[in-house]
Amino acid sequence: MQWRATTRRSNFTHVPVDSLLLSLQVGLFAASVAGALALGVIALTHKRKGATFVDAVLTAPLVLPPTVLGYYLLTALGRRSVIGVAFESLTGSSLVFTKTGAVIAASVTAFPLILQTARAAVDAVDSTLLDAARTLGATRMQALRRVALPLASRGLAAGLLLGFARALGDFGVTLMVAGNIPGETQTAALALYDAMLSGRERDAAALAVTLTLLAVGLIAGVQWLGRRHHAR
């Protein structure tokens, strides 16, 4: 492993920076994908029977062991699965053990947090306003888009930040679905683990401190948005 040989020689290596940049990239993609999916789920289930059950199923990843999630994703998207075969024949690239796999893994872990936060924000919008929109000619979807989503925008943004923070720190699911390939799928959390195993303590410390600062900054952002949302 040439990368390990080169990184061990110096106190600081390029590994923390590369893996952090990859984490930010994966986190942004994952929060966007999970955010779009969460909005779709809310649009389809808002104030409808069964929404609680749908939310319970879709929020389960929050409490399931990462290995269980990783198992399901590998089974569903692996190179021998229907989806995996179809994706590979279309793109020539595998879904798992690639950057795409890392984004999928991070999206799955970010999704429940985004869904829960966004759902709470949309549900908090006064239902009389949605009724008013309907009597003014808006369909259910138009009422959501033109009234509920703008009024819930700060809550939605908080959900995206929270999802981004969760995606940024994912370890278990990413390891199972995307592997730990330096420069390709090695995110910051994986690089930290690797740095500890290979005795690159300065790299590990740099990654740990940076991830902690990012997490604290993002949570502060979520809280600020939450306060602004309630103050409206």
Binding site: T128, L129, D131, A132, R134, T135, L136, V147, L151
Partner: protein
């Protein structure tokens, strides 16, 4: 034949059953009753905001019973005005208006032009209800549903708005249903009274 609203609302709201049959033509019909008598639920059922268990909502020979709210030609003024807080007064009125011209026409007609760029949070109760009325009328409804829109206004503002509504109902030839627990409001609009109590009409 003049436009007629023919309604038989049979529904249940939180285990409270409602069975109300009424006819209303151009002018004001007053659903008069105490709080919790089911009068607002009748309006909501006519607007399509709550489903009917049975019965019908027909207007001018057209059956609205299975139509979603957006396809019924109703204008609804809510008790709390229900203005969209993220939109200006002008944008609120334009929300359901067929064209910007219609929105501007109602902005001028109810003397709301000076408030056009204001947000609902900065309006007084009376101003908010006038905006809500303009917003409902800008959609060019055939039926106007007024759900206690005057209840939170002070006396002078209430008298002014009652006068405006009275003029508009005649000018626009609207079938209007007013829900209220204040007899004076119905009388000021020259309305025909229907007494509702316990989810049923009484003589």
């Amino acid at each position: 034949m003049p436009a007629e609203l023919n309604v038989h609302v049979v529904t249940k709201v939180d285990d409270f059953s409602i069975d109300v049959q009424l006819k209303a033509s151009v002018g004001v019909t007053v659903l008069f009753g105490p709080s919790g008598s089911g009068k607002s639920s009748v309006l909501r059922a006519i607007a399509g905001l709550i489903p009917l268990k049975s019965g019908h909502v027909r207007f001018d020979g057209h059956d609205w019973s299975r139509l979603p709210p957006e396809q019924r030609e109703v204008g609804y003024v809510f008790q709390n005005a229900a203005l969209f807080p993220h939109l200006s007064v002008e944008d609120n009125i334009a929300f359901g208006a067929p064209t910007w011209e219609d929105a501007r026409r109602w902005l001028e007609r109810l003397q709301l032009k000076p408030l056009a760029n204001r947000k609902p949070a900065s309006l007084s109760g009376g101003e908010a209800q006038r905006v809500a009325l303009a917003r409902a009328l800008a959609r060019k409804p055939r039926v106007l549903l007024l759900d206690e829109p005057f209840s939170s206004l002070d006396d002078s503002m209430r008298e002014r708005l009652l006068e405006e509504v009275k003029t508009l109902v005649v000018a626009e030839a609207l079938v209007t249903l007013l829900v209220t627990h204040d007899r004076h409001e119905g009388e000021a609009l020259g309305g025909r009274f229907l007494n509702i109590f316990g989810g049923r009409l009484h003589d």
